[in-house]
Symmetry: D2
Amino acid sequence: MKDSAVLLIDCPDRKGLVARVSGLLFERGANILHADQHIDRGLGLFFMRVEFELDGFDLEGFRAAYAVLASELNMTWKLTSSARKPRVALFCSQYLHCMADLLHRWRTGELVCEIPLVISNHRDVANLAAFYNVPFEYVAVTTETRAAAEVRQLEMLERDKIELIILARYMQILSPGFVARFPAGIINVHHSFLPAFTGARPYHAAHARGVKLIGATSHYVTEVLDDGPIIEQDVARISHRDQVEDLVARGRDLERMVLSRAVRWHLDRRILCYGNKTVVFD
Amino acid sequence: MKDSAVLLIDCPDRKGLVARVSGLLFERGANILHADQHIDRGLGLFFMRVEFELDGFDLEGFRAAYAVLASELNMTWKLTSSARKPRVALFCSQYLHCMADLLHRWRTGELVCEIPLVISNHRDVANLAAFYNVPFEYVAVTTETRAAAEVRQLEMLERDKIELIILARYMQILSPGFVARFPAGIINVHHSFLPAFTGARPYHAAHARGVKLIGATSHYVTEVLDDGPIIEQDVARISHRDQVEDLVARGRDLERMVLSRAVRWHLDRRILCYGNKTVVFD
Amino acid sequence: MKDSAVLLIDCPDRKGLVARVSGLLFERGANILHADQHIDRGLGLFFMRVEFELDGFDLEGFRAAYAVLASELNMTWKLTSSARKPRVALFCSQYLHCMADLLHRWRTGELVCEIPLVISNHRDVANLAAFYNVPFEYVAVTTETRAAAEVRQLEMLERDKIELIILARYMQILSPGFVARFPAGIINVHHSFLPAFTGARPYHAAHARGVKLIGATSHYVTEVLDDGPIIEQDVARISHRDQVEDLVARGRDLERMVLSRAVRWHLDRRILCYGNKTVVFD
Amino acid sequence: MKDSAVLLIDCPDRKGLVARVSGLLFERGANILHADQHIDRGLGLFFMRVEFELDGFDLEGFRAAYAVLASELNMTWKLTSSARKPRVALFCSQYLHCMADLLHRWRTGELVCEIPLVISNHRDVANLAAFYNVPFEYVAVTTETRAAAEVRQLEMLERDKIELIILARYMQILSPGFVARFPAGIINVHHSFLPAFTGARPYHAAHARGVKLIGATSHYVTEVLDDGPIIEQDVARISHRDQVEDLVARGRDLERMVLSRAVRWHLDRRILCYGNKTVVFD
């Protein structure tokens, strides 16, 4: 894979946006690999993702020229090079299946990022982190010590210049103040098909209700529990034979899938948030 | 297909139930086509479905002998012959896709039943009913006339000896008194993945929440709206491109599928209700 | 829905294509509703679909201007207005589930086209065609009369100015000469997950092999049987309990789904063929 | 989980089989946890799986009594206790995603077995095996040395009393002689939806054919390549945007799923082979 750049744009819709953006890219000699647009006509919003080759391209020159255009057209935008890998921290508690899955995908090159930090309130993950050569920090959390624990976590995150936090079945609630530090920067996996079964013990609730499919949901974390913009969801069929423990076992596969897809799409800069929703460019 | 009988059993679990039931069937010379059991260990309940050939079998003799056994073992049971087709009424409002689908499946032999009655509060279905040679009754319903309308509907249902009512996108709420007349005898399709998005306009709610899958649910109707035992659910993937009208269009396919499966399973006597759940024997 | 136009482009890839096309649209005042591109880097090909509003837009003026650009850039292209509905003929044999499904979707506005012709080698479809007010022609076909039958069919197709033929479980093989008259203009549904189980009786073959999923495939017809560009595929889970007749029944739902999706995408001008594949813009 | 026993039966169909088997279990005081039957009417075969509690049950006494009944009824049967864990060997080559997945599921208790042996013709798996404390043996294989390599492998398998071999993306072909030593005892995962795309490089073949879904298949290995009884299959949707490397990446998830399910079902003794098919009791 050669290096490429991704330009993500979010602005009020108006005529000529594609022409202006693609015109400037053409003028600068960009070789476009992929371009996609989305228009929310109800809200009058325009979204665009363009990926182009960096080989022989003057990225910083383009950035300066683009800033002028973006300012004129009232655009929110982000221009990043694939050469710079995002710095990611993984949080987990006692269940390690998502953590093991993410680390394996990272090792095999499916997830392109740096992982300088794993944080857990359980020590069980230490061996796994060591196997993948990722630094592990143990931070105990109780209701009483949550505030102090978050201070420590934030110090670690700052120290390691973390840009994205992945809650890989991290069973502690983060405070609004913590969440506010990482807008669209914390990805969680919830073990139900949201908005059904928010909160604790969703597999028990699903079993009690007698649903015929169980689900899992990955989403950005906001101040309201289990309410942030949904990135990905998937479901699996169950039957009357399945007890709660069967739902838990099947759910593990769903959780791994929806969380790893969300992380990959975020790292590939395919996701734009607006309102309480996501655009996921394919 | 030769004629067959189905025995459905529901009783407290204890040792030897399969042996006793299969022993009596063997003694009477039954040729078992299919047998399935389910045990809910938490509740201590036993469920069984046995299907056997009727050719040369003394069904009424067996019924009498079985009644003795069932009484001894405290069983709730139902023994029916495939030769007797259940009598079904279809209810709909202005959306006809489920109605058209059910009538086509009935015509082609996929749904084995009598359909002596179609009721609607819209006249649009008249042609479709006529095409399939099914009697149609128009019963207007408003909030003020609901009680009187239900009286008329109940007269028609009684007149036609209806055993199963299918709400094929019937947009009126039935009173608790009406529902109580047909325990596990009214099947509805709700256009969401229950328990998410109960009530009116679920596709609008799904679009507003930004879910990545939409669903549909078929269930038995109980007094509580959208809360009865779930029979079948299915989902379809959507994206940020899909507007509410796209969800409605895709949802139609889901609604047809989950409703027609529920009706087929009910007619094949594959479903047992307990608590607020279903056992669906496959 | 306001009227819109769709421009489909297929050409050798080079820098600036998006800029040139979107620049011309902007210059002419087009309001773009949706734009999507695809680049096959292996083959060096560029594909684009742009949909824009027609209200107050000079379509013929744009067509003339675009022709100059397209000639310069060596583009294959097609510019159509949604106001002109494609003229479609439906072919079927004795199984009517796909035919009934397509006609219902057409009646409810899901498929936007004219249907001036239904052709079958069985008379069973006559009532259904009459119900939907679509002219029906009976054309008997045997191995000996195939050539003469095709002559009659072609006369009807020409008389009715048919642009798209849908084989809704039409069980006769079309001659290469017939097929050559409608390049990317005949859509078939095959009742297997191609390329598995080509040819006759695919459900029998699937049952014999013991697969755990059955499938259906919609594709453009080419000279080679079951080998044309695939438009859509879907599958359903089966088990050891399912006999061939169960596969047939479940397959009907798959066939309806994959065929109706293919027809809708074709009518929405979302499909481009190249090599033996399709690009399906979403 | 308390200990339980599983009885698997396979015999010519005749009346009274369920009654005889369940009668004997009742007589001996067995507490049945789950029972399921299947009858292949075309072939006149009967299949049954019964699981019952072992607590306070005389398993060996029952085994002796059952042997008499089984002989009379011409049954093939297998009676095993969950207390005895099957001994499993894992084979792999350079791709480790299935191996990592299986070992993680084993560690977390999802796969109940002993794994005394990992064999590979690549050294890459050594660290992973060490992390899970599983003995690893390196056995180089080339076309010339295949016979000698198999001799070494068979010695290891015998030494470690292996009952089940799992080919977790093992890219070498096993000789008919080797395969014959483990009837229904070698599980492979093939990276296509069999019978489509047998043999080498199925993702390349799928891409070339332009399919819209890719698949994976787990099956028992027989003498004929990719032709053994299918245990499980699953598919994932792809689009024209996906290149071969995207198919490979998505396929990894499918491979993990279908292989791990097959292994779990085998270890739970849910699978019976007959003809070239499987019955998988749920």
